[in-house]
Amino acid sequence: MAVTEIEVVSEKTPERLHIEMPRRAFLLKLGFLLNGIAATMVSVPLLGYLLSAFRTDGGFTSWISLGSLATFPENQTRMAKFRNPYTRPWDGQTADIPCWVRRMEGGNFQIFAINCTHLGCPVRWFQESHLFMCPCHGGAFYEDGSHASGPPPRGLYEYKYKIEDGQLWVHGGQLPTLNQPA
C-alpha cells in the first residue's frame, strides 16, 4: 500500500506536493483532535460513574432505632440488629447489621460494632467471662470494649447512641475500619 501511495504522490508536480503535505498533516491533527474531544466526553461520565464509589461523605449514616429500652436489661450485653439505612433492594440479609448493646446502670449504654478491630471478624460476647472474643486471630476485649489481648490495635468500635421516645437509637450505616471508626 505504502509503495503505491508514494508512486501516486510522486506523479504530482512539486507545487501540488507542497500543498498536499500540510493538508495531510492538518487532517491527521484534526483526526487526533476530534478523537481527543470525543474521548474526553466519553471518559468524564465513565470515570464519574466508576469513581463515585470513592465518596465517603454521601450521608450514609443516620439514626436507627434498636427498639424499646426495655429490651435491654441493666448490666447486660445483648446483640441487636438494624437494617442498614443505605440499602439496595437486592442486598438481601447482608444489609442486616448486628451490634452489641451493653446497658450499664440506668440509661448509660455502649454500642459496639460486631467487627473486631484487627481484621473485621465478628466478635462474640461471653456472658460468663465478660469478654468479647474473636474467632479469627484470637483478639479479646473486656466488657467495656477495651482491648484485653491478642492482635487488635485498639478497643472495639463504638457507635454513637441516643435515647428518644423510650427507644434506643444507634448512629450507624458504615462498615467501621481503623481510619473510619463507626
Binding site: 464509589a53 440499602t87 437486592w90 460468663e128 467471662s129 465478660h130 489481648s149 492482635p151 475500619t177 481510619n179
Partner: protein, 502 residues
C-alpha cells in the same frame, strides 16, 4: 468428490492462512532438549484456564450475582440443576489445580533460568498472569457468597482500611458502598467474569507470542553461560542443528500431563464434590469462624502470628515488595549460569519459600491462634483430671470450663491452643503465680480479676495445682519452707508415689 473437498480446503487455507499460522505456532521448532517432563507445567496451567472458562460460562448461566439471591442460586446449582454440583466442583478443583500447577511452572522457569536474557518480558508477563490468577482465586471465593465470603470481604476491607488518609475511600471503592452488600458482590462478579479473565486472555496471548518470538528456554547445561553478545546466535544454531517441531515431536509429554491434569480435576470433582456454600451470608449469624481457601491459608497464618506493632506496615508494604522482587528477578540476574546445579542460592530460595509457605499453610489448617469458641460447652474434662480430686479442685475444673478458660487453653488434648497447654502448668507456676496470672492476665491473656469471685479463683487455682505428671513435682515457692504434703496436695501424684514406694 474428494478432489472438490480438497479444492475447498485449499481455497479456505489460501484465504485464512491456516497452514501458515499452524507452521508458525504449533509447528515451530524448539530445542530437542525442551521436550522434557519439566516443561509441562505451562501448558498444564493453560489447560486449567480453559476448563475454568468453559465451566465458568456454564455456571454463569444459572448463578445470580445478587447479594440477596447468590446463595440460593448456589444451592440450586448444587441440588436442582442437573450436573450443577459437578460443574461447581470442576470449577473449584480447576482453580485449585491451576494455582498449584502455575506455582510449579513458576518454580521450574525460575530454577531453569528461563527468565534470563532475552526472555525478561516472558517472565514479567508470567508474573502478571500469576497476579491475575490469584485475583481470580480471591474474587471467585467471594462469588461463593457464603459466610466465609462475607467475612473474607470484611478482612479485605479491614486491611484496606488501614491505609493512611485514603483508607476509608479505598474501602468504599472496594465495597461499592458503605457496607458489604449488593454492590460489593456485583463488582467482584464483574472482576471475576469480565475484567480479570479478559486481561488473562490478552496477557496469555502476549506470553505465548513471546515464547514463539524469543523461543522456549533450552534445557540448561551446567557451565553453559548466557552472554548477551552470543546467546541469540547460539540458540539459532541449536535450533538449526537439533530443533524439532513442537507439534508433533515435543508435545507428547505436554499432552500426557494435560490428560492427567484433566483426569485429576474430574476425579477430584466427582469424589470430593463442590465446595460449600457454607452458611448464608447473613452478618447477624455470627457463630462462624471464617477461613480462607487453601491458597490464602498461609496469609491467614502470617496475619495471626505477626507482632501487632509491625502489622499495618507489613500488610501495606509487603505485597508491593514481594511483587516488586518478582518483577525484578530477570534484572537482578540477567545473564550467566542457568542450570540449577550451579545456582545454589536460587535452589535454596525456592526451598525456603516452599517451606515457609507450607508451614504457614499447615498452621492455617488448624489455626492454633484462634480460640475454640465452643470448647467451653463441648469439650470434655478428662476423667483422670477429676479422679480423686477434692470438691474444691473439681469446682475449679467447672470454673475452668464455665469461664471459657478452655476456649484458649487445652487440658488433656481438649480446648483451644491460643494460650499455653495447661496439662503440666503446676510444674511451671506456683499457686501464688497462678493467682496473679488469672487475676491480672498478661501479654496475650485477658485479666480475669473483675470477672471471677475470690472463691472461684481459689477453686480454679486449686484445680490447676493438680495439673502435672505424677512423676513431676509441682513448682514451689523457694522463699517458703518446704512442707511435705500439706500444700499443693496431689491425690494422683501421692497415690502413684505411694505405689512406686511399695
Amino acid at each position: 468428490m474428494i478432489e472438490r473437498l480438497r479444492k475447498i480446503a485449499i481455497w479456505i487455507d489460501d484465504r485464512v492462512y491456516i497452514s501458515k499460522i499452524f507452521a508458525a505456532t504449533a509447528g515451530h521448532h524448539v530445542p530437542r532438549t525442551s521436550g522434557s517432563w519439566f516443561y509441562v507445567f505451562g501448558s498444564g496451567t493453560l489447560l486449567c484456564f480453559m476448563i475454568q472458562i468453559v465451566t465458568g460460562i456454564c455456571l454463569a448461566l444459572v448463578y445470580v450475582p445478587s447479594a440477596g439471591q447468590a446463595y440460593t442460586s448456589l444451592e440450586y446449582l448444587n441440588y436442582q440443576q442437573q450436573f450443577g454440583w459437578f460443574l461447581r466442583a470442576m470449577h473449584n478443583w480447576g482453580s485449585n489445580f491451576m494455582v498449584a500447577i502455575m506455582l510449579a511452572h513458576l518454580a521450574q522457569v525460575f530454577l531453569f533460568g528461563a527468565f534470563k536474557y532475552p526472555r525478561e518480558m516472558t517472565w514479567i508477563s508470567g508474573v502478571v498472569l500469576l497476579l491475575c490468577t490469584l485475583g481470580m482465586a480471591f474474587t471467585g471465593q467471594v462469588l461463593r457468597f457464603d459466610q466465609d465470603a462475607y467475612w473474607g470481604l470484611g478482612i479485605g476491607a479491614a486491611m484496606a482500611g488501614r491505609v493512611p488518609l485514603m483508607g476509608p475511600a479505598i474501602v468504599h471503592m472496594m465495597l461499592g458502598g458503605p457496607i458489604i452488600a449488593g454492590e460489593t458482590l456485583s463488582r467482584f462478579f464483574t472482576l471475576h467474569v469480565f475484567v480479570i479473565p479478559g486481561s488473562i486472555l490478552a496477557i496469555v496471548s502476549l506470553h505465548l507470542r513471546l515464547v514463539l518470538t524469543k523461543g522456549i528456554n533450552e534445557y540448561p547445561v551446567p557451565g553453559k553461560l548466557v552472554k548477551k553478545e552470543t546467546y541469540a546466535e547460539e540458540y539459532e544454531a541449536e535450533i538449526k542443528k537439533s530443533g524439532v517441531p513442537f507439534f508433533p515431536k515435543a508435545i507428547s509429554k505436554d499432552l500426557i500431563f494435560s490428560g492427567l491434569v484433566l483426569l485429576g480435576i474430574v476425579f477430584c470433582a466427582a469424589y470430593f464434590g463442590p465446595a460449600g456454600p457454607h452458611g448464608i451470608p447473613d452478618p447477624t449469624q455470627i457463630n462462624t469462624a471464617p477461613k480462607p481457601d487453601f491458597f490464602f491459608l498461609w496469609l491467614y497464618g502470617v496475619l495471626s502470628l505477626m507482632p501487632d506493632y509491625m502489622e499495618t506496615v507489613v500488610m501495606l508494604t509487603a505485597p508491593f515488595i514481594v511483587i516488586g522482587i518478582l518483577f525484578a528477578v530477570p534484572f537482578i540476574s540477567n545473564t550467566g549460569e542457568k542450570s540449577p546445579r550451579r545456582r545454589p542460592v536460587a535452589v535454596l530460595s525456592v526451598l525456603l519459600i516452599l517451606i515457609v509457605l507450607g508451614a504457614f499453610n499447615y498452621l492455617g489448617t488448624y489455626a492454633p491462634w484462634s480460640p475454640k469458641m465452643e470448647a467451653w460447652t463441648s469439650a470434655a474434662t478428662p476423667t483422670n483430671y477429676l479422679e480423686g480430686r477434692s470438691p474444691l479442685e473439681r469446682q475449679g475444673a467447672l470454673v475452668f470450663h464455665s469461664k471459657q478458660c478452655i476456649n484458649c487453653h487445652s487440658v488433656g488434648g481438649e480446648g483451644g491452643l491460643r494460650g499455653p497447654v495447661l496439662d503440666s502448668v503446676a510444674t511451671r507456676l506456683t499457686a501464688d503465680q497462678l493467682v496473679r496470672q488469672v487475676i491480672q492476665g498478661s501479654g496475650n491473656m485477658p485479666a480475669y480479676g473483675k470477672n471471677l469471685s475470690p472463691s472461684e479463683v481459689a477453686a480454679l487455682v486449686a484445680f490447676m495445682g493438680t495439673l502435672h505428671k505424677p512423676t513431676e513435682a509441682p513448682a514451689r515457692d523457694s522463699t517458703r519452707p518446704r512442707q511435705a504434703s500439706t500444700d499443693n496436695k496431689q491425690p494422683n501424684a501421692t497415690a502413684q508415689m505411694a505405689s512406686t514406694k511399695r
